[in-house]
């Protein structure tokens, strides 16, 4: 094999660039021409860039576009009913899950273009989008400053082919003009786009967190305006970064004392890709169970660096969180805590450390608190004219968008959960979220948003009758907290309006979603070390967990069918307030928390026997002494 055949094209290009004296970016990626769908340089054709033609010259873009970030469940259709058990779900992931914005009555799903537009800020292109010229957008994850807002706006406008070009707005390579996007010829060298402007690189934490949370890295203090929280942040309150919490610009309770980093792994330079590498990364290749012999825990075979760069898997190792609804075949493929932390030092201070580690997930103590607000209730019973549900947040009182609002944070709930790799049940910290929505018909399919809008809205405002029904303060408008169906009469009134627009047998339904916490990990010094936080009647195992301050009347939420957690306690309702009251786990006893009659009896018996033995022994000796 000649050297030229052994080296991938990018390496040859890099060598060529080096030979020509061009400066390469830190990643070493050589300059590349940006090509349109016809293979012409974009600065000449002024056509949108095609990642298939541009990146596909060296990388296997067709395979890359099948990764689960591109599919979002599209490739995992349910044969009959989805694992969630929810009527209307046709599969896992964003593609298959119920979305109130989709699905007119009678249709199984909305058309693909609508789905792509609605998920413009969450779908990276490729997968199902390829059929509509929405190519996988490599620049979203592989350039330092992707313009995600411009990209999302372009997708929402239905200009799918332009999306990757829009991502590069702001890089200096392309600019927006009244006539559309224009490539700047002066930003291109004969070898292609200026590496300094394009800056191709492996994805960093910031790229991952652009969709999955907030990044707290670098010198600039973290600042996050928190209106209705972004989707990812709202579930977990995820912030990942090395910055100290006390250095942030957020109005957090006891911030000065929070001298810990947002996540200790980030502070120790463990980034997203270190735990979530591609499956075929040479350093950590994971062969699928389908092909790996059962006698091998891990295959020692590795692809070469060249092979990997030619065809890097864009399926990443992932955990097995209960909310992970896509690519379940990969659940647990990521190393868990024990995969790196081989030696734990708990035994020196933690009584029964083996038992604790067996029954409690590491995160239970090492994620003692979520610092940012997260979603508590999502109430679709009376969506506003913009189509937004009423949302209650935990961890904050007042308007989270107001910088003066104090962010309290919240303590995660501990629930037992069976998870890979060993399937053992461990107490896992999580956010238990409630959702309420209308369903209809015998099957209980969720009522789509357009039917709700027809029943509740008039143009861009609430129907006057709906206002009259719910306007508690009489100001003629419905504030967010007034969009609450607090009694049977209000529920019946809205149900009647739904029936009037053709919704059969409308009724409210609730569900609980267990959103696990795996980030925001703290080192031992900041972890839970107070035994009474669990071993106490008011502790985390038995406390009262607020699910909703104002839950719609009659809604009694239950876990979805594919939930991997169990609820040993009870969901209680008092007025509109919905709470979960914890209880001992089903198969374990937590001393100090609950009472177990036989343990109490055994303890008492042992104590009495000990006292009787000691007293009897002393008495006998005393008697013996007197007799003598």
């Amino acid at each position: 094999m000649s050297a030229a055949r052994a080296l991938p094209a990018w390496a040859l290009a890099a060598l060529g660039a080096l030979a020509s004296g061009q400066e390469l970016p830190p990643s070493g990626h050589p300059p590349i021409p940006l090509l349109d769908r016809d293979g012409q340089p974009v600065q000449r054709s002024q056509q949108p860039v095609s990642t298939q033609r541009t990146c596909g010259g060296c990388h296997d873009v067709a395979t890359i576009a099948q990764g689960y970030h591109s599919q979002l469940g599209f490739d995992e259709p349910a044969s009959d009913s989805a694992p969630s058990g929810r009527a209307g779900d046709v599969g896992p992931g964003l593609w298959g899950r119920w979305d109130p914005r989709l699905g007119p009555p009678g249709d199984a799903r909305a058309d693909l273009a609508t789905w792509l537009r609605l998920h413009a800020d969450l779908h990276v292109g490729g997968g199902p989008g390829a059929d509509l010229q929405l190519e996988v957008d490599c620049f979203v994850c592989h350039t330092p400053h992707p313009n995600l807002d411009a990209r999302a706006a372009t997708v929402r406008a239905g200009r799918f082919a332009e999306a990757p070009s829009a991502t590069l707005l702001g890089s200096g390579l392309v600019e927006r003009t009244p006539d559309g996007l224009r490539w700047r010829a002066d930003a291109f060298a004969p070898t292609g786009a200026s590496p300094a402007l394009l800056g191709l690189q492996p994805p960093g934490d910031r790229q991952c967190l652009a969709c999955h949370g907030l990044s707290a890295a670098g010198e600039a203090p973290l600042w996050a305006a928190l209106p209705t929280p972004p989707a990812a942040l709202g579930d977990e309150g995820l912030v990942f970064g090395a910055q100290r919490v006390s250095d942030s610009a957020l109005n957090l309770r006891d911030k000065d004392a929070l001298t810990r980093p947002w996540d200790v792994h980030a502070a120790r330079l463990v980034g997203c890709a270190d735990c979530h590498p591609p499956l075929n990364a040479p350093g950590g290749f994971l062969e699928s169970e389908e092909t790996r012999p059962s006698h091998l825990a891990e295959s020692p075979r590795r692809p070469s660096v060249g092979e990997f760069l030619r065809s890097p898997s864009h399926d990443f190792r992932k955990g097995s969180s209960s909310q992970g609804t896509v690519a379940r075949r990969l659940s647990g493929s990521q190393r868990d805590c024990r995969g790196c932390h081989a030696s734990v030092s708990h035994a020196s201070w933690l009584p029964f450390s083996a038992r604790h580690l067996e029954g409690i997930a590491c995160q239970a103590c090492h994620i003692p608190r979520a610092l940012l607000p997260a979603r508590r209730l999502t109430d679709w019973s009376v969506p506003d004219p913009a189509g937004a549900p009423r949302v209650e947040l935990r961890g904050v009182e007042g308007d989270p968008a107001d910088p003066a609002t104090l962010i309290e944070g919240w303590q995660p709930l501990l629930l037992p959960r069976r998870a890979a790799p060993d399937g053992a049940a461990r107490l896992q910290p999580l956010n238990l979220q409630a959702t309420a929505y209308w369903v209809s018909g015998a099957t209980g399919r969720p009522v789509p948003l357009d039917r709700l809008a027809a029943a509740l809205h008039q143009g861009h405002a609430f129907h006057p009758e709906v206002v009259a029904l719910l306007d508690r303060d009489g100001d003629g408008a419905l504030a967010a907290d007034e969009r609450w169906l607090s009694d049977a009469a209000q529920v019946a009134a809205i149900a009647a309006r739904l029936e009037a627009v053709g919704v059969a047998s409308p009724r409210l339904q609730g569900e609980l979603i267990a959103q696990e916490l795996h980030h925001g990990v703290v080192e031992g010094a900041f972890a839970v070390r107070d035994c009474r936080s669990c071993h106490d009647p008011g502790g985390r195992l038995g406390g009262t967990w607020l699910l909703a301050e104002r839950a719609p009347f009659g809604v009694e939420p239950t876990l979805l069918g594919d939930a991997t957690v169990s609820l040993p306690g009870q969901v209680l309702r008092a007025e509109g307030r919905l709470t979960y009251v914890g209880a001992p786990t089903e198969d374990s006893h937590a001393p100090g928390y609950g009472r177990s009659a036989w343990i109490d009896g055994l303890g008492l018996a042992l104590l009495l026997l000990t006292l009787a033995g000691a007293s009897g022994h002393g008495l006998l000796r005393w008697l013996a002494g007197r007799g003598a």
């Binding site: 890295a217 007293s615 000796r621 013996a624």
Partner: protein, 520 residues
């Protein structure tokens, strides 16, 4: 049974010498005594076990450090100074009435000699008295202004040390209450007009932060100008400013141990390493970091590098000074840069263009305890920044560690023919601040320094390294891994001699970067 009881009673009584009835009686009494004790011990044991089981978390063990020396209670001197004084030397003579050796000791210190490094041809050594910097440039020809921080009275020209006497030692500047006693800022070290010298003398006591800060906070002519880590916020600092002085209320002399008026520590010693160097390890010895990975850094990273993450935390410090811009009327500057012309911290006609910075990340250099210093008359290469002072050391020097520095960047006059930096006369008659005539100012400065001026000058870029040792932060506010390593790290590893980030490429020992010969 009775034998066992007897035997037991013997054991519990420590082995009886007598046997028989007396022994049995004692045994019975012993049982009587031990029964409640046994029960009590049982209860105590059970309670202890329950306590352990409930698992009170262990308290963190803090290694015992010697208690920091705090400000001593001042001895009341007021009874010793009944009469008013008419001059500073008169106060000194009164002090010497009891502390007869004090002035002689002071005159051996660098606070008096303003020298102490090496020896020049005249045998006077190098120091502030004859070295250049890139702030006000040099003392020579500017004595009355510069020596307002000298621990003496009347240093107004180059002949001061030939005639100086013990009476000219200024006891008050270090020992009097700094709110009572001040020097004239342009009076050759004499007391400021109007100072009540008797009140000042009555206020004397041990040296506190205020006395040291009088000069060391205001080096360069203003608060925080010279030092990035010493300014007025250190007078009564919070622990966010400095953990030693803020949390523990330590004073300067707690670390800068002083014997016979010799204060330990030196800014940036050149030539031989400072034998009386102040070190963190003077107090923090042994296994300091429990974290194994952090502990490994100790071989290559100074304590200061992590525990002084920023300089000038609240008061901005001067970062650059361009003398070549001096002499322009602000109205002229305003035509091309109105904002600069308006702000005296950005432009001053007498001094030129400045930049200041607050909460500035330090720059990092290898430092083995020695430094290089540009000597008077030494030729420079004006094509590149001239290192007026620079730490010695490299990645291959096992004795060197990474230290944080403030690098002050200047642009200052040099002789185009002789190729050395020049000292301008700035202060007083004929000085640049009076006449704005570079030629005349440089000529007068050259006469005072003894290094001729050819009559042709240019401006050269210079750099001066100022080590950062104060504004120390506790572990909760110290640097973390990502502050130096990774994508957002502030260190340029290649510049420091590594092939790349040592977190990814390995440390200097792993990479074989260290010199096999050991410390030089």
């Amino acid at each position: 049974m009775s034998e066992r009881v007897e035997t037991l009673s013997d054991e519990t009584s420590g082995g009886g010498a007598s046997r028989g009835g007396d022994a049995n009686a004692r045994g019975a009494l012993a049982v009587d005594r031990w029964l409640p004790l046994t029960l009590a011990l049982t209860l105590v044991g059970v309670s202890a076990a329950v306590g352990v089981a409930l698992g009170q978390p262990p308290r963190s063990v803090e290694r015992a450090l010697p208690p920091p020396p705090l400000e001593e209670e001042p001895f009341d001197h007021s009874a010793y100074f009944a009469k008013p004084f008419s001059s500073g030397p008169e106060v000194t003579l009164a002090c010497l009435g009891c502390h007869s050796h004090a002035a002689g000791e002071v005159m051996q210190t660098s606070h008096w000699t303003w020298s102490g490094h090496g020896a020049d041809e005249g045998g006077g050594g190098y120091g502030k008295r004859n070295l250049l910097n890139n702030f006000c440039i040099g003392v020579q020809s500017n004595w009355p202004r510069c020596t307002s921080c000298h621990a003496g009275y009347g240093w107004s020209d180059g002949g001061f040390f030939e005639t100086a006497t013990e009476a000219q030692v200024d006891c008050l500047v270090c020992h009097a209450d700094p709110t009572v006693y001040q020097k004239d800022p342009a009076g050759a070290g004499l007391p400021a007009p109007g100072v009540d010298l008797r009140a000042a003398a009555r206020s004397v006591g041990p040296v506190g932060r205020g006395q040291c800060g009088t000069c060391h906070f205001s080096g360069g002519g203003g608060d925080a100008v010279k030092h990035g880590d010493l300014d007025g916020t250190m007078l009564h600092p919070s622990e966010q400013i400095d953990v030693h002085m803020g949390r523990l209320d330590m004073v300067c002399t707690a670390c800068h141990h002083t014997e016979q008026h010799q204060v330990s520590g030196r800014l940036l010693p050149f030539g031989d390493a400072d034998e009386r160097r102040v070190s963190c390890e003077d107090c923090h010895a042994g296994a300091i970091h429990a974290d194994e990975r952090i502990a490994r850094h100790e071989a290559a990273v100074s304590c200061q590098a992590c525990h002084i993450p920023y300089m000038a935390l609240e008061a901005a410090t001067k970062l650059s000074w361009d003398w070549s811009q001096a002499g322009q009327d602000p109205s002229v500057v305003a035509t091309h840069d109105p904002q600069v012309a308006r702000d005296p911290h950005l432009y001053n006609k007498k001094k030129g263009r400045f930049t200041y910075g607050q909460r500035v990340p330090p720059e990092y250099r290898w430092y083995d305890g020695r430094s290089t210093r540009l000597l008077p008359g030494e030729r420079i290469d004006p094509a590149r920044p001239v290192p007026i002072s620079a730490p010695q050391g490299s990645v291959s020097d096992p004795a060197a560690k990474l230290y944080p520095f403030k690098i002050h960047r200047g642009r200052q006059p040099y002789d185009l023919e002789h190729g050395y930096l020049l000292v301008p006369k700035t202060f007083g008659p004929g000085g640049y601040w009076t006449d704005f005539d570079w030629d005349a100012a440089l000529r007068l400065g050259a006469e005072a320094s003894g290094f001729p001026y050819s009559g042709r000058h240019g401006f050269a870029d210079t750099e001066m390294a100022w080590p950062l040792n104060h504004m120390v932060q506790s572990k909760e506010r110290a640097m973390q891994c990502a502050d130096c390593h990774g994508e957002t790290g502030r260190l340029d590893w290649r510049e420091l001699g590594y092939p790349g980030d040592p977190a990814r490429h390995g440390g200097r020992a792993q990479r074989g970067l260290l010199s096999p010969r050991g410390p030089q």
